[in-house]
């Protein structure tokens, strides 16, 4: 993230703090929502950027709520933190696969476009990486299946094909590991800033890079409509744009976490409905015989045109 961006975030943060103060003073009864942020695959290079995004989102959300509720952001930089504390926040802005694993139901989403890719430093094709270590942002166990089914087209099982899939705290870390040659390649969103200088070997599967889900239904229910309306007015900044609900990528991701087809495709049966058994022959005598030719009275050849066409 550039220096300008960082200073902008600082300003925004100050503004958010000020706004909180205003809202607090204006309406002491307004509900305060705790918004957790865990986005390991988002295109941030540093935790500071990730934190700044969270603060900005909280501020924007509060502003858009127009006093209906106030917002408090809580950033989780590591999966352990997210696992430990995400259950206590009211609303969670999280990685799509993380949300899926938790069974959360998104009310908004940001889908990375294009997709997840496999970045390498030296290899020129995926096949070169057989038996080599690769890295990925640490999220969920199902992530590997997702990568296998999307980036690797279901034709390779990442867990088997590579010698190791090293789980790092986020995509930046995974890509940094490639650059430092500690791994041969890394899964990361296509276009991630940290991927500069690396070779994109293959990409596939739109990725739900961030979904917004209600964690504590009881607390949020009274203001859920206002919350959804407020989110719709917020910018997702570097992530893109919020959409309503889980989005197609989230739905697809739910089905892309199974065993890759290379390991699961069933065998095809032959015959079946199209294959019919022989019907019993219905013949009471050996072979049908037809009467001999009947020529009596059969029309014979008769001249039709007998004169030349042109006299």
């Amino acid at each position: 993230m550039s220096r300008l961006t960082r200073s902008s975030f600082a300003s925004v943060r100050a503004l958010v703090v000020a706004l909180f103060a205003v809202f607090t003073a204006a309406d002491a009864r307004a509900e305060e929502l705790t918004v957790g942020v865990y986005l390991p695959l988002a295109p941030f290079q540093t935790n500071a950027e990730r934190s700044a995004w969270g603060d900005r989102f909280a501020a924007d959300l509060a502003a858009a709520a127009n006093g209906a509720f106030t917002v408090k952001a809580q950033l989780f930089a590591r999966r352990e933190d997210a696992l430990a504390f995400s259950g206590s926040v009211d609303v969670l802005v999280a990685d799509g696969l993380f949300a899926l694993e938790r069974g959360l139901r998104p009310i908004a989403h940001v889908t990375a476009s294009p997709a997840i890719g496999l970045y390498a430093a030296d290899a020129t094709r995926v096949g070169d990486l057989q038996g080599k270590p690769v890295a990925a942002a640490q999220a969920e166990p199902g992530d590997l299946a997702f990568y296998s089914n999307t980036v690797l087209g279901g034709e390779l099982a990442a867990a088997d094909f590579f010698s190791e899939v090293r789980a790092l705290k986020d995509a930046s870390a995974a890509l940094a590991a490639v650059k430092s040659k500690s791994v041969a390649a890394a899964f990361a969103p296509v276009g991630h800033p940290a991927a500069a200088g690396l070779r994109l070997l293959r990409q596939g599967g739109a990725y739900p890079i961030a979904v917004v889900a209600v964690v504590r239904d009881a607390r949020v229910a009274p203001i859920k409509d206002a919350l959804v309306a407020a989110i719709a007015q917020c910018s997702a900044g570097a992530l893109g744009t919020f959409g309503v609900g889980g989005g197609g990528a989230f739905e697809r991701a739910a089905g892309a976490r199974g065993t890759p087809r290379v390991k699961s495709a069933p065998a095809l049966l032959s015959g079946g409905a199209d294959a019919k058994p022989l019907a019993p022959p219905i013949r009471l005598k050996v072979k049908g015989r037809v009467p001999p030719p009947a020529l009596s009275g059969v029309p014979l050849a008769r001249p039709d045109v007998i004169e030349p066409q042109d006299p």
Partner: protein, 820 residues
């Protein structure tokens, strides 16, 4: 011409002689002479005459005159002493003739002729003088009475010239022939005689005579023209053309040569060259009607109808309005343009202008016929035939009219007359054959087989190559069971006739009855492709040949067609039989829709079937219910109930009951009830009644069970059934593949691969290829998997698209040569 010219020269010479001779001397006093003296005097005079003739022939006029004077004087001396001395009178007459003193000759000889009317010399002399005096009517009978004597060639010559002038070509022919014999060395006369032959249409004689003349006078142009004309009239157009080419080369501006060579070119069908010649001719003689007509005719022959019309119209403007041939030409133009009404109008106009021209009447008749008015056409062709009774083509036209009027016996008579007039006319011959064939076909239709045969035989006597008559004769002979005769008729066919579509059909029939079904079928197909008119025969041949090799669908359709073309009870029986067999065959193939259609058609003719076949049909219709019902379980139960009932009780129905249980099992299978199917099979007492179907149904029952287990994820149970099937010897590759599938799903990949690999190598079933690829991919052999996926993807099988997609991903991941 040359002869005439020579005669003129001779006349001039004689004229000179007469002038020099002057008039008769005064007669000397009469005194009697002794007979011996008279004979001596006559001898001297005759010698003088012979000498004079020789000198005249040599052109020695003066000496000849002296000799004639001498002879004349002696003859007169004799006559002075004896006025009735006949020899002296004849001699003097000859002198007078040579001196062209014809009236004196007449005066001299007339009394002698009155006294001696049968005296040939007297008649000869008097005839010559009378002719030259202009008394030709009196002279010719006299000359004719003596001209047969070879010595009287001058009489022959005179008569020849006489008839030439009168254009009486036949009357002078005998004199020409005699003269050639009498005066074989008279080369000069050959030009006239040759021309005479030409005029008398004795073309070979004309050419021969003129050739002799031209040997002596090779540059004589008139003789060359006449010879070329004779060649042209004879039909030797190439030779005539060569002579005209030479003449035209020598005299390029001679319009007559242009015209004549153009005529040759027209006859040679070289109208483009004729046109150029006629254009050159017309540049000199732009109002020449015949040339204008022939030019238009050429344009018409060249297909330039618009130009031809303009040319005919131009001919009209150049004074040819009343020329019927111009109207004839315009009629032909209109006909060519398919303006038949106008063609008729023009032809009528031509006929009005030339009512005695048979060709014009014939053309009008032809145009009427072409316009669909054969009755009127016949009237005009009758007229043409009346005008020229010896022209074959008019009879042929009458034959065509009568054909359209369906007056076959008269048609035959017309063509036979044409053939008698011109045995070489192919149209006449073909007309006789066609008429006979049509009469034969009619007789056959009426059941008069002997008459039909006679007509066909007569047709072939007229024209061995007339394929229709031969084809009909062959069918007739086969129908009569005279196969060796039919074979002989096939063998006797000329090569071209044997290729005719109707002959192919007839030959197919012979092959069929000789037991060569394959050959018959192939010939019938060729006949059909050639649009033979023996459609009913072809259909029967195809039906019989197909039935012989149990191609029941082809047979049924062929008999159906044969029935449509010529309904007859045996064909209906054959048709019903074929449909029954086809229905049973379709039942056996598990095609209930097709079986229903075929059995339904068989049922339409059930009365023609034998008892056993009727029973078969009845049971087949019941079995059909099991195969095609939307509620197969109910149908199976109903059939099972019926089989157990009284309708099928007893030993005679044992086989039907067994077959019926097979269908009950089939119905249960359709309902997915494998166990029930198996129970039905167990009720079959004699498995041989079901043939291969028993095993097939039993295997299908097993397969249904195995599939159900597989679908439920009970791979072990499925594997057990399929393994047992294989163990029992089931060689169905689908079963083997499925066994591999069950083992694969049980994690026994190596066992599965062992099953699939030989199947995949054979390429059947296709699923084995995919399955082996899937197994290889699972154990990390991605290249092997890629190759098999590609192969399966290219096979067009049901899941080919999925396999291609998988192969494409592998190709990208491993750079295997690119995505398919």
């Amino acid at each position: 011409m040359v002869g005439l010219r020579t005669s003129s020269r001779l006349a001039a010479l004689l004229g000179a002689l007469v002038v020099s001779l002057g008039v008769f001397d005064a007669p000397p006093p009469v005194r009697a002479a002794a007979p011996g003296d008279v004979q001596r005097q006559l001898g001297e005079a005759n010698d003088a005459m012979d000498s004079a003739r020789t000198l005249i022939a040599r052109g020695e006029t003066r000496s000849a005159k002296k000799r004639l004077d001498e002879a004349g004087r002696i003859y007169r001396d004799i006559l002075r002493s004896n006025a009735e001395q006949r020899d002296a009178a004849v001699g003097l007459s000859a002198v007078l003739f040579l001196e062209k003193r014809y009236p004196e000759g007449v005066t001299l000889m007339r009394p002698f002729h009155e006294r001696l009317p049968d005296d040939a010399d007297v008649s000869h002399q008097l005839g010559l003088h009378l002719y030259r005096s202009g008394e030709q009517e009196l002279a010719v009978p006299l000359l004719e009475s003596v001209a047969s004597d070879p010595k009287r060639f001058d009489a022959m010559w005179l008569l020849l010239q006489h008839y030439y002038r009168q254009a009486n070509w036949q009357a002078g022919l005998a004199h020409a022939e005699r003269y050639l014999v009498a005066r074989p060395d008279d080369v000069e006369s050959l030009a006239l005689i040759g021309t005479y032959f030409l005029k008398a249409e004795q073309f070979d004689r004309a050419i021969q005579t003129l050739d002799r003349f031209l040997e002596a006078h090779p540059g004589n142009v008139p003789a060359r023209i006449n010879r070329a004309n004779a060649l042209f009239r004879k039909g030797s157009f190439d030779l005539a053309g060569q002579e005209y080419e030479r003449l035209l080369e020598e005299q390029p501006d001679k319009s007559r040569f242009l015209y004549n060579l153009a005529s040759v070119r027209i006859k040679q069908d070289r109208c483009d060259e004729a046109l150029l010649l006629l254009d050159r001719f017309l540049a000199k003689e732009d109002k020449n009607g015949p040339a204008l007509y022939f030019r238009a005719d050429c344009l018409l022959r060249l297909g330039r109808t618009d130009d031809a019309r303009s040319a005919f119209e131009k001919a009209q403007t150049q004074g040819q309005t009343a020329n019927p041939w111009v109207w004839y030409g315009l009629s032909r133009v209109a006909y060519r343009n398919k303006a038949l009404d106008q063609a008729i109008e023009h032809a009528k106009k031509a006929q009005d202008l030339g009512p005695e021209e048979p060709e014009l009447a014939a053309w009008l008749g032809t145009v009427y016929r072409k316009a669909g008015r054969p009755a009127e056409g016949l009237g005009w062709h009758d007229k043409a035939a009346l005008l020229a009774g010896d022209v074959a083509s008019y009879q042929i036209e009458r034959g065509y009219d009568l054909w359209l009027l369906a007056r076959l016996p008269e048609m035959l008579a017309a063509f036979e007359k044409a053939r008698a007039l011109d045995p070489t006319d192919a149209a006449a011959t073909r007309g006789v054959a066609a008429a006979r064939t049509a009469l034969g076909a009619e007789a056959w239709k009426k059941g008069a087989t002997a008459d039909a045969e006679a007509h066909f035989v007569a047709a072939l006597e007229a024209d061995q190559g007339y394929a229709l008559a031969r084809a009909d004769l062959i069918v007739l002979l086969v129908a009569a069971g005279r196969v060796p005769d039919a074979e002989a008729a096939v063998s006797a066919a000329p090569v071209e006739a044997a290729k005719h579509a109707d002959m192919l059909a007839a030959t197919a029939l012979v092959r069929l009855v000789k037991g060569d079904g394959e050959g018959a079928f192939a010939l019938a197909a060729s006949a059909r492709a050639g649009h033979s008119s023996l459609g009913a025969v072809i259909a029967q041949v195809e039906g019989q040949a197909a039935a012989a090799k149990s191609s029941w669908e082809v047979a049924a359709k062929a008999f159906e067609e044969a029935w449509q073309l010529a309904p007859a009870p045996p064909i209906e029986a054959a048709k019903s039989q074929a449909w029954l067999e086809l229905g049973l065959e379709r039942l056996g193939r598990g095609d209930p829709g097709g079986a229903r259609d075929a059995l339904g058609r068989a049922r339409a003719g059930v009365t023609t079937l034998e008892t056993e076949d009727r029973q078969t049909l009845e049971f087949a219709l019941q079995a059909l219910g099991v195969l095609s019902s939307n509620e197969p379980e109910q149908a199976a139960k109903a059939l099972a109930t019926a089989l157990a009932g009284p309708r099928f009780a007893g030993g005679t129905w044992a086989r039907v009951r067994d077959v019926g249980q097979g269908y009950v099992a089939y119905g249960w299978l359709r309902a997915g009830k494998a166990a029930e199917a198996r129970k039905a099979l167990e009720r079959v007492r004699d498995r041989t009644a079901l043939g291969a179907a028993w095993d097939s149904i039993a295997s299908a029952a097993d397969d249904v069970e195995a599939r159900a287990a597989y679908a439920a994820g009970n791979f072990a149970a499925a594997e057990k059934v399929w393994a047992a099937m294989v163990q029992r010897g089931n060689a169905d590759p689908a079963v083997a593949n499925n066994l591999g599938a069950a083992r694969f799903m049980l994690g026994r990949s190596a066992d599965a691969e062992a099953v699939w690999r030989p199947l995949a190598e054979r390429g059947a079933p296709l699923e084995a290829i995919y399955n082996l690829g899937n197994a290889l991919g699972r154990r990390g052999d991605h290249r092997g998997a890629w190759e098999l996926f590609k192969r399966y993807g290219d096979s067009g099988a049901g899941d080919a698209a999925k396999a291609r997609e998988r192969a494409g991903v592998k190709a990208e991941l491993f750079d295997f040569g690119g995505a398919p």
